[in-house]
């Protein structure tokens, strides 16, 4: 009897185990996508808007049943790593991604981090999507990095040209934080302005990233009385303070930047003094955002309590990864296949109205397609929100 009951129990356990395993098989496979970027410290807003965009979009796609790539349906799992804006940590993060068998990573957010992870990414077959502008990351022989946004040397000239033609701007001054990203953006911005025929009246003044009072910093710049003041590579934390100090010092000209900003932060930090401030965004304004974009904003807000306008740009990277993998399922664990597909890839852009497309661009700037095509939307801040100034496309 005892032996029989033992057999019965074992048999039942086996049946249960097999059923459970089958049930597990019935669930979707996991597609891990990495994020290596800054989610702590003063620049945390940059990375957090990235990570949250990815998590919000992944949760949404998973809720819809996952994404079908080839014959397999995957649930997307985002694997984040905070590099604390430290290149050494960024390398550690990319190594972790490699150990986890991840082939697609969004980030890092800054120049030195993006440059530092390049060997790790190339050795381990990882495609990564930095928000950093150095051209050597995207020009041959480099081939694993894809610029996730519009670079300042692409948006800057477009903005200056527009302001020359429409607002009569003749002189320009640049001010930048004392870090590699803002400084390189200032240098390329000033060069572009000179090429367009603008007179650069000041481009030597820099500030510490932890400055709390910008009045003394701005004083020598304002004294040059430029028509346009460019805040090169300004972080969302510093932008409102700089704008406010410039206006309080009596500056009445135009102020612009080539980085993405958040309307709520500008409204809180500078109020109506920020009116007229020109910055760059994604499909940010109501007339450009599709219903999908609007739902994304709602879902993001529900998940995290508050939306960040920078996510208008940052929502794109994950979409490009998923859609390119759908176009060529062999790329799921082979980035060479991904690279082949990039040249001809095209899919509808779900976040914009009209017939906008997701394609890879960058041939003019990098000699190869190593940039996601994000609409270059130039915004003007007005009474707490952004209004579209003009829209352009990068080729």
């Amino acid at each position: 009897m005892k032996r029989r009951s033992f057999l019965a129990t074992t048999g039942l356990s086996l049946v249960l185990a097999v059923t459970a395993t089958t049930a597990a098989w019935a669930e979707n496979a996991k597609l891990k996508i990495g994020f290596v970027g800054v989610t702590s410290g003063p620049a945390a807003a940059w990375g957090i808007s990235n990570q949250r965009s990815m998590e919000a979009r992944a949760a949404w796609l998973n809720e819809l049943g996952g994404v079908k790539i080839g014959d397999t349906t995957y649930d997307i799992e985002i694997v984040p790593f905070d590099d604390q804006k430290d290149p050494k940590r960024a390398i550690a993060g990319m190594e972790k991604m490699a150990q986890d068998g991840i082939h697609y990573v969004v980030g890092p957010n800054v120049d030195d981090g993006a440059a530092a992870v390049r060997p790790v990414a190339e050795q381990n077959g990882i495609m990564y999507f930095p928000y950093a502008f150095p051209k050597e990351l995207y020009t041959a022989p480099a081939s694993n990095a894809i610029l996730g946004m519009v670079a300042n040397y692409q948006s800057g000239p477009a903005i200056y040209k527009y302001l020359m033609e429409n607002k009569g701007v003749k002189t320009v001054a640049f001010i930048a934080g004392n870090e590699s990203d803002p400084l390189s953006q200032r240098d390329s911005g000033a060069a572009a302005a000179r090429d367009l025929g603008l007179e650069v009246v000041s481009d030597t003044v820099t500030y510490q990233m932890d400055t709390t009072d910008f009045t003394p910093v701005l004083l020598p710049v304002i004294q040059t009385a430029p028509d346009l003041l460019v805040l090169s590579g300004v972080s969302p934390a510093n932008a409102p303070q700089l704008i406010r100090s410039a206006r309080e010092l009596g500056y009445t000209g135009l102020i612009s930047t080539e980085t993405a900003q958040d309307a709520a932060v500008l409204a809180e930090g500078a109020g109506e003094l920020a009116n007229g401030f020109i910055s760059v965004g994604g499909a940010s304004t109501p007339e450009l955002a599709s219903d999908t974009m609007k739902e994304f904003v709602t879902r993001y807000t529900d998940m995290f309590g508050e939306y960040n306008d920078e996510s208008n740009t940052k929502v794109y990277a994950l979409e490009y990864i998923v859609e390119t993998l759908k176009a060529n399922p062999a790329a799921i664990d082979n980035v060479d296949e991904f690279k082949k597909t990039m040249d001809t890839f095209e899919a509808p852009n779900p976040f914009m109205v009209g017939d906008a497309k997701l394609t890879y661009v960058g041939t003019t700037s990098f000699g190869q397609k190593r940039q996601v095509s994000v609409p270059l939307v130039v915004n003007e801040f007005k009474d707490g929100k952004f209004e579209t100034l003009f829209v352009a496309q990068v080729d």
């Binding site: 989610t39 702590s40 410290g41 003063p42 620049a43 945390a44 807003a45 957090i48 004392n178 030597t204 003044v205 820099t206 500030y207 510490q208 932890d210 709390t212 009072d213 009045t215 003394p216 910093v217 004083l219 020598p220 969302p236 934390a237 510093n238 409102p240 303070q241 309080e248 010092l249 009596g250 958040d262 709520a264 932060v265 809180e268 930090g269 500078a270 109020g271 309590g305 508050e306 960040n308």
Partner: protein, 290 residues
């Protein structure tokens, strides 16, 4: 030009001095280098932000809330973290590590509670004082500087004339002697820590109207506060005030005079400080309280 530089220096100096006061108070009473001072400043800023911008209450209520929340936080940190560690370990590193740990912990708490974005509250007073373009100073800065000076004066009077202030001064001068004279060391250490944290919170609350606040501001604020008390002499009230105003003035002069050479102001300040400390390692005002 000179008027503007001086005004900027005085404005910066007033807020810096107030930050340094809290740090130096804690150091003098407990020999603790509070690396979390900057995070306490940030926490105070976010409390004022929440009360004023989110709940729509007046700025003074926000300031009061920052003071109370940070005082309670400081008292709890002293009672449950520093006191047991000081009782069990004679090594200074233990409290330094604890303070650094609290700084990281507060950074994480701030991120969880208040988020990653830069925050600010509307200007308390509008308008800009403009003296013939020679001196430009927004009224809200003048107000905040005046409030900071008033708080510094209030603090000095409190330390000088109140019973608690006298007890804390005795404690700072000689812990053992104070204990033998009947001063309740535990009680006044806790009050001192609470007061130091409260000062940090108050500056955060004051400055959220002007510079705004974000979670990354803690570390750099602590570094500046340490600079100031090293200039003035650690553990000395007058030293902290002097250090604050000297740093503010050096920053203001450097940013204007050295602007053409790029961002070298802090480089020059650090080099000057290194030379200064080599000559006078105890800082301007020397030993505790004196």
């Amino acid at each position: 030009m000179m008027e503007q530089i001086l005004a900027n220096g005085l404005y910066l100096g007033a807020q810096y001095a107030l930050i340094a006061l809290g740090l130096t108070l804690i150091f003098s009473l407990m020999n603790v280098l509070n690396f979390a001072h900057g995070q306490m400043y940030v926490f105070g800023g976010f409390v004022t932000y929440t009360v004023v911008a989110q709940l729509g209450l007046p700025f003074t209520v926000g300031l009061l809330a920052s003071a109370v929340v940070l005082a309670v936080m400081g008292a709890l940190i002293e009672r449950f973290l520093f006191r047991p560690v000081i009782a069990r370990s004679k090594r200074d590193e233990s409290t330094m590590l604890l303070a650094a740990g609290i700084a990281f912990f507060l950074d994480a708490v701030i991120l969880l509670l208040f988020g990653e974005k830069q925050r600010g509250v509307p200007k308390v007073v509008n308008g800009v004082f403009n003296w013939d373009m020679r001196l430009i100073m927004p009224y809200d800065r003048i107000l905040i500087a005046a409030l900071a000076v008033a708080l510094i004066v209030g603090f000095i009077l409190f330390m000088q004339y109140s019973r608690t202030g006298r007890a804390m001064r005795a404690l700072a001068q000689d812990r053992m002697a104070a204990q033998l004279m009947g001063v309740d060391v535990d009680r006044y250490s806790m009050i001192g820590f609470a007061l130091g944290a409260m000062l940090a919170g108050l500056v955060g609350g004051l400055l959220v109207t002007i510079t705004g606040i974000n979670l990354g501001m803690g570390g750099p604020t602590s570094v500046k506060a340490f600079l100031m008390i090293m200039i003035g002499g650690a553990g000395v009230i007058s030293g902290a005030i002097a250090g604050g105003f000297i740093l503010g003035m050096m920053e203001s002069i450097g940013l204007t005079v050295l602007a053409a050479y790029g961002d070298v102001t802090y480089l020059v300040i650090f080099v000057t400080l290194m030379i200064f400390l080599a000559i006078r390692p105890q800082g301007l005002m020397g030993k505790p309280w004196g």
